[in-house]
């Protein structure tokens, strides 16, 4: 018998869903049975739902195609929302399959009942299946919704009786993302604005390919315009093979200063910049009063920003892009304690060609982005997008499953990593080539900075206790071993260098705890 769950899963498979990150419960058992008999759909267990949603986001970022999750009722979805929030901000196509009590059961208010649709609505498109005959069509609709444009989080709420009842025939429609070209009139308008001067160019989204970054550098060379990357890109090509472009600063006073003299900002795949947080006497909008932004390629419309930048470079008769001269080789590792800066430098030196760097190293991660990524071999960087922490390890898992021929570096702050550390276990189970590098500074450093910005220059015991990860010391090598992952701890440049050499050469996952 084809169950409703079979109809749903097989339709999703035909529509292009290849992987499902799952943490199911009783209301999803027919879905588990359907996954068990659907060939070609890989199923990965997460020990916590945030692992599943973050991994689906990582997979989607690397492939452009939707990954699925299977989660248990409202509390299961709630546990996954933080990373779905980040996926939403990254415009990642993710399909959530959430079990629900049958309609006839809900009026009795069973203990696990909650309003799943309201939760799902916080992160994107939502549909509640009403009857089993919808199961194939609803499944296809969710995949289509996830692909957009733009890519988004699409949640299907599936009563268990619709899963177990006899289902309709699966649908056979394949769905692919569509990209649009920027109209010629927009290219010309951007060229005019840049020629008029006092106009900057901000890159984001689909502009952050090697081709897009090179075209942007040509545009800057031809027009003399200042150039920035969005501060929190979903995915970006990095390394020696692309021009070195600074990210727009994180703190609003610095960003405002950078943008102060502009009367216009051309947006290529980026949104108009906004302060991440509000502060007293700081504006929300980072452009000066009277300055206007202009969309060369609006990411909400899936306009191909790299293509638009190439057309813009041609419109400006820009010169060809020339590879910058190689930088001097960095100081070799020494037998001295590690700093965040030297950690980044040594990682850049050893980074394998085509690596994927999932950067959730927070303060050390800014150092990496602004100073060291450009020295490394060509690689792809994934970054925090929505500010919800705990994205790094799950994202790295998903990226590694999406790209089994590439090495993934989970470049991880210790504080953030602890939100979803259960991802280490799934990395071991799936034997993905992930090297986890934990920047163990044993504090929420960014919050110490923010506390000082809020006027607290001498925190008392309570404020200190809320930003320090000491008392007791956290030992990441023990945590990794608890989840079956080989791990080591390093304190010196030499030890890090040696550990990186070993871990990057070995297949499968391992963890380096770098004490800073």
């Amino acid at each position: 018998m084809t169950t409703g769950a079979d109809s749903l899963v097989q339709t999703a498979r035909k529509a292009g869903v290849e992987i499902c990150f799952a943490n199911p419960g009783t209301t999803e058992m027919p879905m588990v049975i359907a996954l068990d008999r659907t060939p070609g759909l890989r199923v990965v267990l997460g020990l916590f739902e945030g692992v599943c949603t973050g991994a689906a986001d990582g997979w989607a970022r690397m492939t452009g195609r939707p990954a699925a999750t299977l989660l248990h009722l409202g509390p299961g979805l709630a546990n996954g929302i933080a990373n779905l929030h980040n996926a939403r901000r990254a415009r990642s196509p993710v399909v959530n399959w959430i079990g629900e009590h049958p309609a006839r059961h809900r009026p009795f208010d069973p203990p696990l009942l909650s309003d799943i649709a309201v939760l799902a609505g916080c992160v994107g498109w939502t549909r509640s299946v009403g009857a089993v005959h919808e199961m194939a069509e609803a499944s296809l609709a969710a995949v289509q919704a996830a692909l957009g444009p733009p890519g988004r989080v699409a949640t299907l709420i599936i009563p268990s009786d619709c899963q177990w009842a006899p289902g309709p025939a699966p649908l056979s429609a394949s769905v692919t993302p569509t990209w649009r070209e920027a109209p010629e009139s927009v290219i010309q308008a951007a060229a005019r604005q840049l020629r008029n001067g006092r106009t900057g160019l901000l890159l984001g989204g689909s502009a952050l390919t090697a081709a897009g970054l090179r075209a942007a550098a040509r545009v800057a060379a031809a027009s003399g315009c200042p150039l920035w990357l969005e501060t929190f890109p979903a995915r970006q090509e990095c390394g020696r093979h692309v021009p070195r472009i600074p990210p727009l600063p994180y703190f609003p006073e610095q960003a405002c200063e950078a943008l102060a003299n502009l009367r216009g900002l051309v947006l290529a795949g980026a949104r108009e910049p906004v302060a991440f947080f509000a502060y007293p006497q700081q504006p929300s909008r980072l452009l000066s009063e009277g300055a206007e932004s202009f969309h060369l390629a609006d990411p909400e419309d899936n306009v191909d920003a790299a293509l638009a930048l190439e057309a813009l470079a041609e419109a400006l008769d820009a010169p060809a892009w020339a590879m910058p001269p190689a930088q001097a080789a960095p100081v070799p590792p020494r037998s001295v304690p590690l700093t965040a800066d030297r950690l980044c430098q040594l990682l850049a030196t050893q980074l394998p060609e085509r690596a994927i760097v999932m950067n959730e190293a927070t303060t050390a991660g800014f150092t990496w982005n602004t100073l060291h990524a450009a020295q490394a071999a060509p690689h792809t960087m994934l970054f925090s997008t929505g500010g919800a922490i705990g994205q790094g390890l799950p994202n790295a898992l998903g990226a590694a499953l999406a790209c089994p021929d590439r090495r993934v570096i989970a470049f991880q702050a210790d504080g953030s990593g602890l939100y979803t550390l259960q991802a280490l276990w799934s990395m071991v189970r799936e034997q993905v080539d992930v090297t986890v590098v934990v920047c163990a500074n044993r504090c929420y450093r960014i919050l110490q900075v923010e506390l000082e910005r809020a006027g607290c220059r001498e925190p008392g015991p309570t404020a200190s206790s809320l930003t320090e990860l000491t008392r007791p010391e956290i030992n990441w090598t023990d945590l990794a071993k608890g989840f079956g992952m080989p791990a080591c701890r390093v304190r010196s440049e030499l030890a890090l260098d040696e550990a990186l050499r070993r871990c990057l050469a070995e297949p499968g996952p391992s963890l380096i705890e770098a004490l800073l």
Copy 2:
């Protein structure tokens, strides 16, 4: 200067809030500063928000007074929702303080923006502070809302500018929970119904004190009525000093069979029973058609069920309750592999007087409840209420902080424990007397049962992989050590017995991984 955050925190302190479980971010920095300068309010850092909310629930269950949480924006609240769902089902008074962007910042849709009020609405009372002059009054309103009756989760959404601006004078109102007495007419009606026969008595909520359980046994002795406990009690007195009353079975077919012959069910502090999950050909309502339930003490109205049961026993001229004869001493520990049953038996033998057992041991936990808790010294049990897993370790942390003179046992399934294992670190930091006993059967046993109930008798590789926690093996002693907690692993009855003796005698937390 008194900030808005000071007004809020000091008002809450005066209203009876003594503890705050916190995981703040930038939008909560003025709250952190306010906590830093408010004496008498203990602040506990959780490494993950589910730890904070679960701990607040545990504290509230043991004290009856509200505990606060401090969480970061929508994603921070989302990470805490699963345990807030359980707190809601337990009617625990919990006050959430959630930072928010200022109103002037929100129209710019900054990366961390999401609809916090919608998330909070899923778990209870919600109020968004509109202006700084509300900060004291809103703080008091949240504490009052949390205390009910009935107890509930109350969330205050607090824009950061209302935190940092000059605030109003704190309010000085103390708030205490109110309990009502059941009217005499209701007592008499219940007595009549019980005398008429074919009526059962279901105990829950405030009936589950020693006095309530004894009064219920007297009612049963006088009327001959069958007697059950609600299946998922928030808090219950257990041990040799109270009558042995079975919980209503978990699976609906068993519960229906138990209730089959009744035409009435008197509810003392319990809701009318409902199937936890829906199954094909199983009803949602567990009472037979035509059978009616009757509230002796409605938990939604905070009616004191223990008092009502005592009045009912008197109305029925019930005999005094007699302590049952002591049971034979169990078989002493042997040098043989552990089973869940023997684990429970050995724990019951050693359980210290007045211990608190947080039972999230799932399948082993049912064994404890139905067979072994009654043999142990007088103790209090906390139980999963809403079905969202990951409650155990955080709840144990909160209960231990609430009752520093009592030993807490976190009786924990391995699968559930992994959702919020970060609680181990806070236990060490706060040096609470918690003994964690992990029942390591290395699978989601309950899901294996449910998979079979769903008709899957021979699971394929995918279905098996979703219910097995092998490949790789999880080592709880390493995980505990990673968080700074002493830990050991036991495989035999003798080793468990020895480990329990040692851990229960030592101050501070430790963990025993019991391999089953």
